[in-house]
């Protein structure tokens, strides 16, 4: 990914908030901490698989959002849903989604968190960052599984 984007997205790389490496590291740390916390609390009970999965996913989203910080609109939206008392609810401008100027755009709005309150311009920008972050999430997760299992073997 770095190779591919080296020529074109230099602007993004310089920004520490959107630099994929930083985000990966921050996300990894937070995610591991969250999972650790989950483990320590849930060791006794055999929680249902799906609930575990959901909590892990929630932890992933939350740690991702907090790793990104409140700089981006979608992370703000995510954090707002997690802990509503932390961030003041901004006055959400409700864009007319139902009017449906562009059905694809509405689809994208549904996908990207917090996409409802954004105009098309901001939506595209958020999508770019969101894709970056999703990529940052995926890669180290497999790595984690590998490394933890490797650690547990030895």
């Amino acid at each position: 990914m770095e190779k591919r984007s080296a020529g074109t997205m230099k602007k993004k790389k310089k920004n520490p908030h959107t630099n994929p490496n930083f985000i990966k590291i921050r996300f990894a740390i937070k995610f591991l901490r969250a999972i650790n916390r989950l483990n320590t609390t849930n060791t006794s009970r055999s929680v249902d698989k799906y609930r575990r999965y959901h909590t892990i996913r929630a932890a992933a989203c939350a740690s991702m959002a907090s790793a990104v910080g409140p700089t981006r609109a979608w992370s703000r939206a995510l954090l707002r849903t997690r802990s509503p008392h932390r961030f003041l609810a901004n006055s959400r401008k409700i864009v007319a989604v139902a009017g449906g100027g562009n059905p694809r755009e509405n689809h994208l709005r549904r996908l990207v968190p917090g996409g409802d309150a954004m105009d098309s311009c901001g939506l595209l920008k958020e999508t770019v960052h969101y894709i970056n972050c999703l990529r940052a999430q995926i890669v180290p997760r497999i790595e984690e599984v590998v490394s933890t299992q490797a650690q547990n073997c030895t």
């Binding site: 190779k3 483990n39 698989k49 994208l108 999508t127 790595e143 599984v145 299992q149």
Partner: protein
Amino acid sequence: MEPQLEATQPQFRSVLSGPDAGELGFGFDEIHGLISNPPEAPSSSFTALLELPPPQAVELLVNEDFPAKPMPPPIFPSNIALIDRASKFSVFASADNSSEKTPILSASSPMKLDSVKREPPDSDSRPNSSSPPVSTQGLKSGKRKQEEKKVKVTNKKSKKAAAAANDSSEESGDKLPFVHVRARRGQATDRHSLAERARREKINARMKLLQELVPGCNKISGTAMVLDEIINHVQALQRQVEILSMRLAAVNPRIDFNIDDILAAESGSSIDNSYMGMFAPSMWPELQLEGNRQHQYPQPWQFAGLHHPSLAKEEADTPNFITPENSLISYDSPANSASLHSSQLKMEL
């Protein structure tokens, strides 16, 4: 209007005193003469002036206070300097004139300039012939006429100017922090369309970025398809995240995280390899090695084995993602047994 005229009057003087007044053939008396000369007998130049609608003239007059741009040095004879000045005033009157055009104007078409040269001598000759008293109305009308005439001429010429200048100025306009969008030739220049155009270009720039981000979008043309691809990609990424978290959930209970060790490992080799180097290829050999080594955990590593070819490609192959998902779901019960198995092994260890 009077104070405004008072303000414009000295400016007019300063404007003229920049380049040599002698070349222009204007003295202050002549200015006043020109200014106050009522349009008694319509000559060719003045009829051209009168064609311009009054609001534009007023605008011109009002905008004369703006002279933020430095006067160009009169390389050519001074008439051209006057034309340049007039065209600069016209920038504010109609948005499709740009100061960038006027150098082109002055540099490229001597033939047209000759025709323009003819007109100022006409106006020059007029004040010389009369010496009337100064009147504010005359000031306004006279200046307006002169500027209008120049504006009209330069309007015609700037429209004929190269469209390439338009495009280049448009490009450079977008990079300024203040959004200066120059209108292209033949496009409407009112506020709404300008703002819309700026917005559209912003959106197009972002779409281009997205296209570069999503693999395989470069070849597709058309906004709709690209958006479709983007949506597919986002969905695929989200599904991947889900799958990974399911995996983690399946594997999770037996994991005793030792954060310090893991962080040390992170700062060490493993994560560096995956971050710095290539995205997929460097990692997959590691995984495969791990999978081969650990025969105690067959089933999770079968997942990994399944995932390798699909994830290594990284083109948004949604069908590939669907099948591992199905396999994952079908492996649910074995996953349970795998976790039990692994917990047994942990206890053994």
